[in-house]
Amino acid sequence: MTRTRRVFTLLILASLCAASAWAIERFPPPEFETDYVMKETTVPGPRAEWRQAVDVTVLFAALCAASWLVLKKRSRRGVFVLMLFCLVYFGFWRKGCVCSIGAIGNVCLSIFNAEYAAPWYVVAFFFLPLVFTLFFGRTFCAGVCPLGAIQDAVLLRPLQLPAWLESALRLMAWLYLSLAVLFAATASAFIICRYDPFIAFFRFGANPAMWVVSIAMLVIAVFVGRPYCRFLCPYGVLLRQVGRVSKFRVTITPDECIQCRLCEDACPFGAIDKPTVEWPQKEYVRGRQRLLILIGCVPLFIAGGAWIGWKVAPKLATAHPTVALAERVKLEQAGVFTDRIDASKAFYSSGKLLEELYAENDEKQTQFAVGSAMVGGWMGLVAVISLLRHSIFWKRSDYEAHRAGCVACGRCYNYCPRHRKWKENKALL
């Protein structure tokens, strides 16, 4: 048992230089006298590549089916069944990953970071729904997106929200998108994925805080139609803008609107626009004045937003692990903290120089200062444009599905008497 004694001597020696010693060969591998065969470390492979191709194919097929069901077949039931299938496939079976919403992070990181390139199927997940929306409206939201599906499935007692509240809450989605781009571009975090409110259900697992958020979100979804899609979804913001110029889209009536008002309250997402009445002359003049003032204020909003962005940049920057570490190490060096956390322990034992860490920190801080100011300015512009829109008179003679807001779920179809007529005629043929 000489070896045991050797071990103990070494134990004492090693404990003296434990921090710096890392994977040093203290005990040379033995020469075996028996016919012992040394084992190999097993390396089970990742998910086979062809299965990502299956996912993209299912996405493409589902998008085609959704567009056909919504626009050609005009079938709410069909969309609902497709939606449930996609909830099971993309949500519970594929565990909600990768999804088009989260792909924003990969695409941004790919654009801003030289070392990372988004894999082909993530790029497909990002662009396919956008292209389909450009042609057919937001059929992705209606039938394919698992996050939309889980909210749509629990919507039982929809409340109507006032238009101003809806506009104001929608700014959150813009902010979420802008921050997601900022954090992904600086390689800090994919916040869309980190704070996905429905992943807890898809995986039957999450940390306690996310469970609370997830359950709260689902409870809200019972009363407020698709709260995530309307007020938070960063991808929804993109789809809305593309939907504005889409080639085809949901029309409540298959042919002509007879102004029967039956569809007026049909939409739980506040996406049916009523015909407008001409503003009184006085209102019109006031609207024009307000418009002029607001246009004058555009630079103010942008500058104000940029200033706020600039101010909060150091706070946002701590989302990056290197910045958080550098801040902590600085405080430890200054003697504010006497104890060390895991991160600073790891840093000290890595042998990296303080100057190197501080230099990396400065670089990230600069990135964040610029990026955050840009996000702030952009948010200012978005806010002022949403105000501007309320000061313009939009002329409309029929009941129409809103180009951006309509998620193409097809709920309004059955409210329309013209649709029922159309369906009867079709059944006869």
Binding site: R26, P30, T34, G102, V123, R194, V245
Partner: protein
């Protein structure tokens, strides 16, 4: 108003068509630009064993209830020690397989006698929770042949790995799927 309408409509239609075409072209250009850079293969998450400090976050932060991170063993680096500091608690009562002597909270390391004085240590993966206690023990006083790795038969490859976000030593990184492991090689 009435005679303005057709003209108005045409102008609107023209604008819409223009915007549609513009957006389509923009999407196409963006997709082309990004896929020009795109790799054929995907990325998976892996731990750089030389950065890992065995803090234990892997056991608790994975989205899976049983972490996708497990301890692995490079046998070629192992000293086959009788007193394995990855296997035994500090100052064990006896060098045997009794639970109170084992460092592993789940008893996931199998100790088998090879020949005097050598013992082989194998990880029973279904039992391993990826806490890294043995990793720390082995690295502190042994050869560092035990280390943590993301096991790809378990990993669901989240777009943002929850453990990576909590890793204090930034040891988690995306690696190409055709080389999904960062093993210590024993050289």
């Amino acid at each position: 108003m009435a005679q303005q309408n057709p003209d108005n409509l045409n102008r609107r239609k023209f604008l819409r068509e223009g915007l549609f075409g513009g957006t389509l072209a923009m999407l196409g250009a963006a997709a082309a630009a990004i896929s020009a850079k795109g790799r054929k293969t995907e990325y998976v998450w892996q731990i750089d064993p030389y950065k890992c400090i065995g803090c234990g976050n892997c056991a608790t932060h994975c989205v899976l209830n049983e972490s996708a991170v497990k301890c692995v063993h490079t046998y070629a680096m192992c000293g086959y020690c009788d007193l394995c500091t990855g296997y035994f608690v500090p100052e064990p009562k006896a060098l045997d397989t009794a639970a109170e002597n084992q460092l592993c909270p789940t008893g996931a390391i199998i100790r088998t006698f090879v020949e005097d004085p050598y013992f082989e240590y194998t990880i029973d993966e279904p039992l391993c929770i990826g806490c890294g206690k043995c990793v720390v023990g082995c690295a502190a006083f042994g050869n560092g042949s035990l280390f943590l790795q993301v096991r790809h038969d378990r990993c669901v490859n989240c777009n943002e790995c929850a453990i990576a976000a909590a890793c204090p030593s930034q040891a988690f990184k995306r690696v190409p799927a055709d080389q999904p492991y960062l093993l210590k090689d024993g050289q």
